[in-house]
């Protein structure tokens, strides 16, 4: 077994509000090997975004143990080993594309970032060379999300967490970005955890798909995806893919 990027042992997250306590995650056990691509799939309310936020040290678990890259999530975050891509690109409207991608190099209390990558190089990696001086409002939704991905990669993170990054995009753009993301994953070798509510996206991207059930959020099943890499969109028409997607859909119906 390869080294572990993320491990969760009996992790629970409970939110307390005026209307009572909601259990977002209930006893999650999970191991993600380094360099792998895991997709989290589940109905809304299953806590998949919360699980991602626990790994990113944005949400503290109520109980259980989380280890990220061999230490506490906080240590991984503070040593800038985590990249995060939100559903909303969360670009700063007052900064140009290049300035947005450079943001991670400017903040963090002035600590040097060993192994940081060049923003120019990353922009060409996501296919946005020539757009350095444009402002976010001049870009299409797909282009904005590419900028967000470049920004997440600039600190050269060993763990890339993606929270429904293509959820607000049209299907054509989403398909293209899916293919590009797999190429990016192969060139960077980073571990990717990708949250989605699309069965096809989960099956196409992941080396394995973690199915979560809702209320309370818990692991339903982890399904390995045996489709060979590099994957092409046409592979979604193979019998293997279709039966896999069918299986995921049937499990989801019971979640």
């Amino acid at each position: 077994m390869a080294e572990t990027a993320v491990s969760c042992e009996r992790v629970s997250v409970r939110f307390t509000s005026e209307r009572g306590t909601v259990t977002a995650l209930d006893n999650i056990d999970l191991t993600i090997p380094r360099g792998s691509f895991l997709t989290l799939l589940g109905p809304s309310g299953c806590g998949k975004s919360t699980l991602l936020r626990v790994m990113a040290d944005l949400v503290a678990p109520s109980s259980g143990r989380v280890s990220v890259l061999g230490g506490a999530p906080q240590a991984a975050r503070e040593s800038r080993q985590i990249g995060f891509v939100f559903q909303d690109p969360a670009l700063l409207a007052w900064r140009t594309v290049l300035e947005n991608v450079s943001l991670p190099l400017e903040v963090g209390g002035g600590k040097a970032l060993p192994g940081a990558r060049s923003p120019h190089e990353l922009l060409s990696l996501v296919g946005l060379s020539g757009w350095e001086k444009a402002y976010p409002h001049e870009l299409s939704g797909g282009m904005r999300q590419r900028v967000a991905i470049a920004r997440a990669l600039v600190s050269n993170p060993r763990l890339l967490l993606m929270d429904e990054p293509f959820g607000a995009l049209d299907e054509i753009t989403r398909d293209r970005l899916n293919e590009e993301l797999l190429q990016l994953w192969e060139t960077t070798g980073t571990t990717i955890v990708f949250v989605t509510h699309s069965i096809y996206e989960a099956a196409f991207l992941g080396q394995s798909v973690l199915l979560l059930a809702a209320r309370p959020g818990r692991v339903r099943e982890q399904v390995p995806v045996t489709l060979p890499m590099p994957r092409r969109l046409a592979q979604r028409e193979t019998t293997e893919f279709v039966s896999l997607a069918g299986h995921l859909r049937r499990v989801l119906e019971t979640c």
Partner: protein
Amino acid sequence: MAEQVTANQVPVGGFAEDAEADARFLAHKRYLAWRRRLLPIGAILLFLLLWWQAVVQFEIKPFIAPSPVAVAKVLVERFDILMTNLLPTAIEAVCGFLLGNFAAIALATVFVYRKTSEEALFPIAVMVNTIPVVAKAPILVLLLGNGMEPKIAIAAIICFFPTLVNMTRGLRDVRPEQLELMRILSATPREVFFRIRVPNALPYLFSALKIAASTAVIGAIVGEWIGSNVGIGALIIQATYNFDSPLLYATIVVGSTFSALFFGVISLAERSMLRWHTAHKD
């Protein structure tokens, strides 16, 4: 978020492959720009003509309403007196503007970081804001004497409220994802303030500053109504008591022109500082 692909790399009309279409597009754009400038000028000229004809045709007495020609004559002949009186008003308005806005920005920053202070102080700010300017003026004259100080204070108080409300909102209404992003990047609170909150608040701030630019001048003028013998406000009172309506109108023209120039300066500053924002609206 709206899907929009803009041909930002193409500096001309956008029809890169069709020179004729491009020329026609640009020509129409120029026409629209001129139209936008000339229409209000035409309307003003028409209004002046109507006013002048009304005074002549209905033989309106000069002390009731002067003809625009008489006002123009005063503007030229007594230009030095008008300017000597504009100077103190301008100083009071600009000082009050700076003071009031600076205080409002500082308090808004405190409000954002200390919710308790907002709960305690905001109702007081609302109360003060409900007092009419004409009522604030005598109170401040009694407190601060007869010099420029009470006028500056009135101008500052008038500017204060809109900036406080807008700035608090601008500093606070930051997208949650941007704050989460800054946490992922382990940004310090100082970095979050200067790189996220302040730039986010600038469009809100400039909306308030544009209101403040004209209201500060009004505040200074109203302040001069009480116990003052220089300034645009004093000149208005003086001209009214003397039934010198051409001077009254000329004074108002000078005061309004200064207000408009002040507003223009703030708008220019906004354009240069918020290129990303103003371009967005075009």
